[in-house]
């Protein structure tokens, strides 16, 4: 093979390699999220109430404990799961019971849920029960949201701030 042909062949190889690398480095484009939808995320960490009431220790019980551990009350480590609901325009679209984290179930429950919603105005109602009661909710909040194309909204929960909030 003549050297001209060899160089031409090498050129073809490098051009093909460059084309292969360059093309798939950016193309084809990928549509991750549709233009006519918005994203709502319900994301928070929160610890439920202890699974039972704290119990007062008797004098005998306290005497058996080492001096540095003689707390007057015995409280359970475990926490109740959170019951969370989300309603879109009056219809409940999400309901879940989030178990507490941790080996002994004593950590906060974690909620991270994504909802794709159609663009436009929506009424969102969020409810959560973090106590030992069987029915009803301890926190409820309603939001009227005007969601544009690909808008991303986050509903968080701050117990010390009064409950559910929209994160800005």
């Amino acid at each position: 093979m003549s050297s001209v042909l060899k160089f031409a062949g090498q050129g073809v190889f490098y051009a093909a390699l460059a084309a292969l690398i360059g093309y798939f480095a950016t193309t084809p484009a990928y549509r991750h999220f549709p233009e006519d939808q918005a994203l709502l995320r319900l994301a928070f960490n929160h610890g439920g109430a202890p699974v039972t009431e704290c119990r007062k220790r008797s004098r005998e019980e306290l005497a058996k404990l080492p001096p540095n551990m003689r707390k007057p009350q015995s409280c359970p480590r475990g926490r109740v799961p959170l019951v969370v609901e989300l309603a879109l325009d009056g219809e409940t679209i999400y309901r879940d019971s989030a178990k507490p984290t941790g080996l002994f179930g004593d950590g906060p429950s974690k909620i991270y849920q994504k909802f794709k919603l159609p663009v436009g105005r929506h009424n969102i109602e969020v409810r959560m029960r973090d106590s030992r009661r069987e029915t009803g909710f301890d926190y409820e909040r309603t939001f009227d949201l005007d969601l544009g194309p690909r808008h991303s909204m986050v509903i968080d929960f701050r117990a010390e701030g009064g409950g559910f909030i929209i994160l800005k």
């Binding site: 042909l5 031409a8 090498q10 190889f13 390699l17 950016t26 984290t101 690909r150 808008h151 991303s152």
Partner: protein
């Protein structure tokens, strides 16, 4: 599995043959894919160091610093950025080709399991390095990757489901977290270099630098690509908007769309199973284990030629244990031996000329000793009845030469062409067992056993011990370094050799060369 391997080989071989013609075998990129991968890595490291000098490691400054580098310093900073990205992509391309080729050539069983299995973590580390790099630009693609990756990682109990909370809103983003990402993008490639060292630690004479011409060609290719299609950012990240259409780097981000359509736990299961499957391939299905070479101390004088020639570091020299007056002896590590027989081909004691005693050599294959090789040679020669006969020594990883046998052609199979002691060529020609000897091996620079073809060529050219004796007429030797599927070419070449032999004067004999028969 054999069907897939055969299919892949049929794809690779024509490309390799074409590239050997335009690049020469020594520069053939397919014969040094791993080395090219290393070269890409060094380019990534060097360009990364330059980019880091100008990079603002804060979440609000990262994007603008990259824009300044790309546009204000387009002539060098922009080029370095493109080098960084495209060399990273090139690394994935050659890594995939390297893996497929080794799989196609069945080079992952036996002692090669170590390099194969340690390749799987290398893939993970390359991917993590690339993905963390994309985060740092902090454009919409980075936002997409950051959110999806952290949501995926949060499914693992060790992360406690809190990483994705870093990427909820613009105000919630933390410079400290971003600094952690910068640290990861530097630390993971360091682990990658370490993993690559482990990957090749058992490979003797590992090729980590490609031919100089290839390095120049690849650099020029990257330079051209950098000017034709400079690497640029996408619009800046904005957590108030979900990224819509994205220009994806499919080399690193191909599995991300899976996270959009599959549950994250299924993607973890898929990734875990794929990695596991990749790592256990050497044992699935069970490869037949070839017996390791053995040393016969009575015939070993500690010359070290077998140590020099073994491509797998399976032979070492140890102090003499039998009291003979030599300082050392060859010792085989059976776990590292693939039974290629190159050591037997290199041993100066491997000669078929002995008649008074059985031909026994210093190091040999138990399943195909020199004695049997001589018997096979004589039996094959006995089948030759044609006027211009050729005895073919053929590597079993090259073309199936047995199919070409006829009155003029008889074939002796070998585990590697370098398993043939050069004295056998002398033996065939001087004893007039055939008019010519043809050596059929893997393509030049593409030897299944890495150096077999190279060593054999050097032995014939008297550049490497054991030399082929000077008296052997070189025009009665033909060498065919060809692939498995080039049967037609092999047939053509052997016919042409046969015709050349027919026009020559009769072959020399030992008597002509003044050698007395035993």
């Amino acid at each position: 599995m054999k069907f897939i391997q055969s299919l892949l080989r049929r794809g690779f071989e024509p490309m390799e043959a074409a590239l050997s013609r335009v690049f020469t075998p020594a520069w053939n990129p397919f014969y040094q894919l791993g080395a090219i991968g290393f070269f890409f890595l060094w380019i990534v490291v060097a360009s990364g160091v330059y980019i880091y000098i100008f990079f603002d490691t804060s979440i609000h400054g990262a994007y603008s610093s990259m824009e300044r580098l790309t546009y204000n310093q387009w002539y060098f900073g922009g080029v370095m950025r493109s080098f960084h990205r495209y060399a990273s992509d090139g690394m994935v391309v050659v890594m995939a080709l390297h893996m497929l080729r080794e799989f196609a050539l069945d080079r992952f069983r036996g002692v090669r399991w170590f390099s194969w299995a340690t390749g799987a973590p290398v893939i993970w580390l390359v991917m993590i390095s690339g993905i963390t790099g994309y985060w740092l630009v902090w454009d919409q693609l980075a936002q997409y990757i950051a959110v999806n990756t952290t949501e995926w990682l949060d499914l693992l109990p060790i992360f406690g489901g809190t990483i994705a909370r870093n990427f909820l809103t613009n105000t919630g983003l933390s410079d400290r977290f971003f600094t952690l990402l910068v640290f990861l993008h530097i630390a993971v490639p360091l682990f990658l270099v370490f993993a690559l060292w482990i990957h090749i630690v058992r490979v003797s004479r590992a090729k980590v630098n490609p031919a100089f011409g290839l390095m120049a060609g690849i650099t020029l290719m990257l330079l051209a690509l950098s000017f034709i299609k400079p690497a640029v950012s996408q619009p800046p990240a904005d957590m108030a908007l979900v990224p819509g259409e994205l220009a994806m780097d499919w080399y690193y981000l191909a599995f991300f769309p899976l996270l959009d359509s599959w549950p994250g736990n299924s993607v973890w299961a898929f990734a875990g199973l794929a990695t596991l499957l990749l790592m256990v391939v050497p044992w699935l299905p069970r490869g037949s284990r070839v017996p390791a070479a053995v040393v016969d101390l009575d015939n070993c004088n500690g010359c070290t030629r077998c140590v020099e020639d073994c491509p797998y570091n399976a032979v070492t020299m140890m102090p003499r244990s039998d009291g003979k007056p030599f300082p050392s002896e060859a010792v085989v590590k059976p776990k590292l031996c693939v039974g290629c027989g190159i050591c037997a081909g290199a041993c100066p004691s491997s000669t078929p000329f002995r008649r008074a005693v059985e031909p026994i050599t210093g190091i040999d294959l138990p399943d195909r000793p020199i004695k049997v090789l001589r018997q096979d040679t004589e039996q094959a020669a006995a089948r030759l009845t044609g006027p211009s006969s050729i005895l073919v020594y053929s590597c079993r990883y090259s073309v199936a030469a047995k199919d070409l046998e006829n009155a003029n052609i008889a074939v002796v199979d070998l585990p590697c062409i370098a398993a043939l002691p050069p004295s056998f060529i002398d033996y065939v020609l001087s004893r007039k067992l055939a008019n010519g000897v043809a050596l059929v091996g893997c393509p030049d620079s593409g030897c299944y056993n890495r150096f077999g073809v190279e060593w054999m060529k050097d032995r014939i050219d008297r550049k490497r011990d054991p030399h082929l004796r000077q008296r052997v007429p070189r025009d009665r030797i033909a060498a065919l370094w060809i692939g498995r599927f080039e049967k037609a070419k092999a047939k053509r070449e052997l016919q042409a050799f046969s015709q050349r032999l027919a026009q020559m004067t009769p072959a020399h004999s030992e008597e002509d060369a003044g050698v007395k028969r035993a």
